[in-house]
Amino acid sequence: MGESLHTVTTLPTTRRTGCPFDPPAELIDARRHGPISRFTHVGGKPGWLITGYDLVRSVLADPRFSSRKELLNVGDFEVPPPPPGEFLLMDEPQHGRYRKPLVGRFTVRRMRLLTERIEQITADCLDAMEKAGPPVDLVSAFAKPIPTMVICELLGVPYEDRGSFQEQIDTFMGGEVSDEELMAAYTATQEYLAKLVAAKRANPTDDVLSELTDSDLTDEELRGISLILLAAGFDTTANMLSLGTFALLQNPAQLAALRADPALTDGAVEELLRYLSVAKTFMRTALEDVEVGGRTIEAGTTVVLSYNTANRDPERFTDPHVLDIRRQSAGHLAFSHGIHQCLGQQLARVEMRVAFRALVDRFPTLRLAVPAEEVDLRPETADIYGVKSLPVTWDKEE
């Protein structure tokens, strides 16, 4: 072989100034050296970092790589198993036990039936935004309330209760607090959801959570499932809407094309998913020795999969660092791949199509209210990358 092996010692915590949409330079550089690099986990354990599209996809589809939380081998400490119901961090058959009852509730068809309701929610947000500004913070006026309201209605979480969980989820997904604060926010959300599950059991209403109480799942399991659905259902989409708007505003020709032709909306959503990859990295642990890209990953070793560099892999996407809403982005890994591929992706698609469309139609002169360098972004340590606040302005008519 003789090919030298690139080594990445720590995951970068910031992106290059002025390039908020591009993966950290160290990761792009690692990909340039090849799709797989040696890597040292934060706890000191040796691992691998996979940055190339084909290899990330093949590991995600390979049952020899486990998602089990307790197998994570990143430092000299025991990792506890995930709480019941948190199926993202489990393998089959446990994963399927939780995912299967949900699948029929999140089909393409069912999610499309929500279009009208999502249009209504979006229109209400835009009305309020128009009244309040300009300028406004697009995150609090648009990007957060739309997915929050939608997932609340779907799950049967009272929207008035959003104060009880929205900030906590923001805290434990935002990557900027101490472990103690993170645990406190996580525990508070769990407590809220425990009460909610009990309430649904006592008085079922017409929603997914109530329907699930009619299964053999325990209260504790339902709480774990609700936590995943709630956190994944709003934090990811909220950041796609805010960061996506920021990206469109920074690419005026793309924004103008999208505004001029509604038929480009679906493609624009897929391209923004690829280009931004807000769910950046996931980990898998080898259950046996596996050869990946000419290297042997030993049993028990944890690998980091970089979705954002995979989605910017020049061998898979031509000119990958260019946002091009007309490109064929199908096959991107923004929703992952393999058995854990996002359960709520069809909901996310409907929300993004409706919300981006309505936003560009309503505010033809929408623009940043501050210089782009001053936009407050989440750090790389966040599970989901995104924008903390996005001040925008527009010309008022008459």
Partner: protein, 73 residues
């Protein structure tokens, strides 16, 4: 002459809906369990490219395609 023929494996399917999204004329999801429903095992020419793409994007490898070798290449 062999024709393009699709097969689906409901045991492998995880109900992500990529097939129904990508090739809605060829695939649907069961309204009860969300798993793949094959509408046309031998898709008409007009939908073959979409069906092929659906095979490629299926996250669980639940769809397979038998296709005759192209004769004009």
């Amino acid at each position: 002459m062999r024709t393009t023929r699709l097969r689906v494996d409901r045991e492998r399917c995880i109900g992500a809906g990529m097939c129904a999204l990508t090739a809605p004329e060829v695939f649907d999801q069961d309204p009860d369990d969300g798993l793949v429903l094959l509408l046309h095992a031998e898709p008409p020419t007009a939908h073959r490219a979409a069906a092929r793409m659906a095979v490629g994007v299926c996250p669980s490898g639940a769809i397979t395609l038998d296709e005759p070798e192209p004769t004009d290449s």
